[in-house]
């Protein structure tokens, strides 16, 4: 195995996966090197198997849907639990603003 084979390896792999020619500096070497051609063929098979994986589905855990929907219920419960404190806070802020405005209003002597 030559140093050139090792340098060419990533480019051979890329070429096999992308279905393009090996980049120029290593092209002529790959054409004549049996080792690199074997690597190219192996990586082509690998790329085919990787692409085939897209269609393979693993079943999600049976309780995933329940867990997600339960969390959404929790979200709603939290937002509902915030309704009352938020209303009180808004009322308090409005009253405070009204007092400040009343105090700032110029009075007639």
């Amino acid at each position: 195995m030559s140093v050139v084979c090792e340098m060419a390896a990533p480019f051979v792999a890329n070429s096999a996966v992308d279905g393009e020619e090996v980049v120029r500096p290593f092209r002529s070497h790959t054409v004549t090197c049996l080792k690199c051609q074997a690597r190219h063929a192996a990586m082509t098979r690998t790329a085919r198997e990787l692409a085939a994986m897209e269609g393979v589905r693993m079943a999600a855990p049976a309780d995933l849907e329940w867990r997600v929907m339960a969390s959404l219920e929790g979200d709603l419960a939290i937002s509902r639990s915030w309704n009352r404190p938020m209303a009180w806070a808004a009322a308090f802020v409005s009253m405070a603003a009204a007092v400040v405005i009343w105090r700032l209003k110029p009075r007639r002597v």
Partner: protein
Amino acid sequence: MGNPTDPGQVERNREQELIARAQKGDRSAFAVLLREHQDEVYTLARRLVGDPHMASDVSQEALIRAWRALPRFRGDARLSTWLYRITVNTAWTHKERARKHQGTSIDEHLDIAAPVDAGHPEVAGEILELRGRLRLALDRLPDPQREVVVLKDIYGWSHAEIAESMGISVTAAKVRLHRARARLAKDLEETA
């Protein structure tokens, strides 16, 4: 507007209707979408993080994030593509969190094999053997390298999409992929 009798178009219309309802807060519509896409989300999560328990947590969080972000989904991409992006980001966050708290553990996991239609039993055996070695080689890749291989070579994302979802430059994504493929090839060669 597509052909209304085309089964694919009918399916797309049905999904769009469910999305529109879910965007208005209809949880039963979201539950239907969830049922239809949870396997895809879980499969991607499992490939990205390896560990089945973490993949389950990633899927749960990704789907909750999807519900919260759904009002902002404009339908420019397919729902599955949009969900994939959320899953990638969620997986990334989970792994960062795991790295901070403990060393990540990647369990040995078994992929459900795609049906092998090779005609001859010996060829089918070779393919199954290659798939087994490939899964292990993918697991042995460092996380960032595995992510680019999964997204590019399995899901066919562009370099730009990978770069955007991982928060890196396109050049960095290309370099990472280049290294990952070389490592994968070497690993497979050594275990052949």
